[in-house]
């Protein structure tokens, strides 16, 4: 397995698998310090971030279409996703996480959301090529880092 610097992910150097890309997205969310790495809420937040950043490139409707299909595909293997809803142009984008955790438990919910993320990366790769998909996601991660740094600065100023 290729090693990935989870602090500063650089996905383009070696073509990672969709699962590795999904892990990087979740890890980047963890490095922001806003939730446990494998917590269901952490994975949902990673999805929210990706939706927000990817929407800049492909439009919120285009991004929502990708997530919707990824969710539909992942549901077949993860019944925990039955209560998950995607709300276009809303924050949070992934809705129903708390209810799912109560109904299915934390680990099952986190696994299911991660599976949705993997499906999304696979789908994007099929549409525009794995290298381009990785690039787009890498740009999203970079934007998150910049956004995170800016927010840290604001906190220090306050």
């Amino acid at each position: 397995m290729n090693t990935v610097d989870r602090g500063k992910p650089n996905l383009s150097q070696v073509q990672p698998t969709p699962a590795q890309i999904a892990r990087s997205l979740i890890s980047s969310r963890r490095s922001e310090g806003s939730g446990g790495g494998n917590s269901a809420r952490g994975v949902a937040a990673a999805c929210d971030n990706l939706y927000r950043e990817l929407s800049r490139w492909v439009g919120s409707d285009g991004c929502h279409a990708l997530f919707t299909r990824a969710l539909a595909e992942a549901r077949a293997e993860h019944p925990a996703l039955q209560q998950i809803r995607l709300r276009a142009r809303s924050d949070p984008y992934v809705d129903g996480v708390a209810e799912t955790i109560i109904a299915r438990g934390e680990p099952a919910t986190a696994d299911a959301l991660e599976a949705m993320l993997v499906r999304l990366v696979e789908l994007l790769g099929r549409l525009i090529g794995d290298d381009m998909a990785t690039k787009l996601i890498e740009r999203s991660l970079a934007a998150l880092e910049i956004g995170g740094a800016a927010s840290d600065d604001k906190q220090e100023e306050a």
Binding site: W57, V58, L127, M132, K135, R139
Partner: protein, 497 residues
């Protein structure tokens, strides 16, 4: 104003082969341009070529998509082209979707978003695709009420120029819409169109406007290949090498023919060999080329009637040197029989080969095949187009040897096709005659500018090694009719007997 006082406007490469010549040197830096044309005319491809030719990480290109082709689909299709470098996409080339601003907000917010992205990325190139979807449908009352398009375009142009951005708005416009404010504000307008004539479709590009530049006028054909757009300028750059050429004679390689034309073809001339089917025109053309190779010259053969493999097999059977010369890179065989060919496309291909090989001889075999390969719309202007083709080629100093088929009837003499004879310096004709119950071949020189030449008909044979010119027919009359008659010998005088 003196030349040195002018503010120099740098030119950016368009990344489109042939387009920089049409633009008068390239795209003016920091200009605000409109790329207009109907659906499928190649606007998006052209914009991508410009971006990939200029984008760097330091000065990236921003591609704003609006409501037209979804970004994912566009990326999926664009990456099929060879210019698409996925290493640049994402860093040096960034795609930004404006659909939310356009659908849910107003033009002020669209402008704000564009400006904020420009401030963030500090791009060198900005593309808005499709600008038409921002401006709305003309005459739409709800759009007219909510959008002050004139003001928007003015402000957008101002921002883009202030940020030292070279920008391109893409839009589907019809010719009658040129009163749209964007046409007034734009520094440059590139119009892409597809002309349909019977079953043929020809793509054309026109530089309608280019401030601060002297673009090449007229409509220029272009083709979309896996490399993107390739433009074929209507009047290509001409390098006048002809004056540098020695006015020497070039051997035709045909035994007896050089003697008929006063010692050989005049270097830099356009020669036309006409004759009916099977008269040996291609054989002579090949001999002409082989003679050049023997003299250490390089050459180009443009084939229109046969597939190159067939042409080569036939040429090799008589002149095995042809294959060897191709292998050694002294000869290039260009096959030009695509659908809807334009004269400028053919000229571009030939000129490229001539430059690559520094060729001195060019064979076009044949003009008849060339005319058939052209899109119908270009056949109408065949004389004018051929005039430019031959003029451009001979201006580079090469000697052009063309073949042309003429239909032949025994009741009338037809030496050349009236369409093309005026463009040539030298004309040699071949024809069949009937003699003593046999079909024989004769040739004659009917035009040779600036040189003496034979006025005799000469018999010739097409042998296994090529065409060989034989004797004259001085004892015959009416050769020109195809049925010569043996002149009656004068009756011996009986006086004195």
């Amino acid at each position: 104003m003196k030349t040195e006082e002018r503010t120099a406007i740098r030119s950016l490469p368009s990344g489109v082969p042939g387009l920089d010549i049409v633009l008068g040197g390239g795209l003016p830096e920091f200009s605000f341009n409109l790329i207009a044309g109907g659906p499928g005319s190649g606007k998006t491809i052209l914009a991508h070529q410009v971006m990939f030719a200029n984008a760097t990480v330091e000065r990236p290109s921003l591609y704003f998509t609006v409501l037209g082709e979804p970004t994912l689909k566009m990326l999926r299709y664009q990456r099929q082209f060879t210019y698409f470098d996925s290493a640049l996409a994402g860093s040096a080339i960034q795609f930004i979707n404006l659909s939310a601003e356009v659908l849910e907000r107003d033009l002020d917010e669209v402008l704000q978003r564009i400006v904020s992205e420009i401030e963030r990325a500090k791009p060198g190139i900005v593309v808005v695709d499709s600008f038409r979807t921002i401006s709305g449908q003309p005459g739409s009352p709800e759009r007219a009420a909510s959008f002050d398009l004139d003001k928007f375009v003015q402000r957008l142009a101002l921002h883009l120029t202030t940020w030292e951005v070279t920008s391109f708005l893409l839009g589907e416009y019809a010719a009658e819409e040129q009163r749209n404010p964007v046409f007034t504000v734009a520094d440059g307008i590139l119009w892409l169109s597809q002309a349909t004539d019977r079953n043929s479709v020809v793509r054309k590009l026109q530089v309608v406007k280019s401030r601060g530049r002297a673009p090449m006028p007229g409509l220029h054909t272009f083709r979309i290949t896996d490399g993107g757009l390739q433009v074929f300028p209507r009047i290509p750059e001409q390098t006048r090498n002809r004056a540098l050429q020695k006015p020497d004679r070039l051997s035709t390689g045909v035994v007896g023919m050089d003697e008929m034309i006063g010692g050989g073809v005049i270097a830099g001339d356009a020669v036309m060999l006409t004759g009916p089917a099977g008269s040996g025109k291609s054989t002579v053309a090949t001999q002409f080329m082989v003679a050049g190779m023997a003299a250490g010259e390089t050459g180009v053969i443009a084939v229109f009637e046969e597939y190159p493999e067939e042409y080569l097999a036939r040429a090799n059977a008589r002149n095995p040197e042809v294959g060897r010369m191709l292998d050694e890179g002294k000869l290039e065989l260009i096959y030009l029989r695509p659908l809807d060919l334009s004269v400028d496309e053919a000229l571009s291909a030939i000129l490229e080969s001539v430059e690559r090989l520094n060729a001195r001889r060019v064979v076009i075999d044949s003009l008849s095949g060339f005319e058939v390969a052209l899109a119908p719309t270009f056949r109408e202007d065949f004389r004018e187009s051929l005039y430019r083709l031959v003029g451009t080629l001979t201006a580079t100093g090469v000697t052009v040897f063309m073949t042309a088929e003429v239909s032949e009837s025994f009741s009338e003499a037809r030496f050349t096709t009236e369409k093309v004879s005026f463009i040539t310096d030298e004309i040699i004709v071949q024809r069949y005659i009937e003699m003593e119950g046999e079909l024989r071949r004769v040739m004659a020189v009917i035009k040779m500018r600036g040189s003496e030449h034979s006025h005799q008909f000469r018999l010739y044979d097409v042998t296994a090694r090529g065409v060989v010119v034989g004797g004259t027919l001085t004892e015959y009359d009416a050769i020109i009719t195809g049925v010569p008659t043996l002149r009656a010998k004068p009756a011996r005088s009986k006086r004195g007997k």
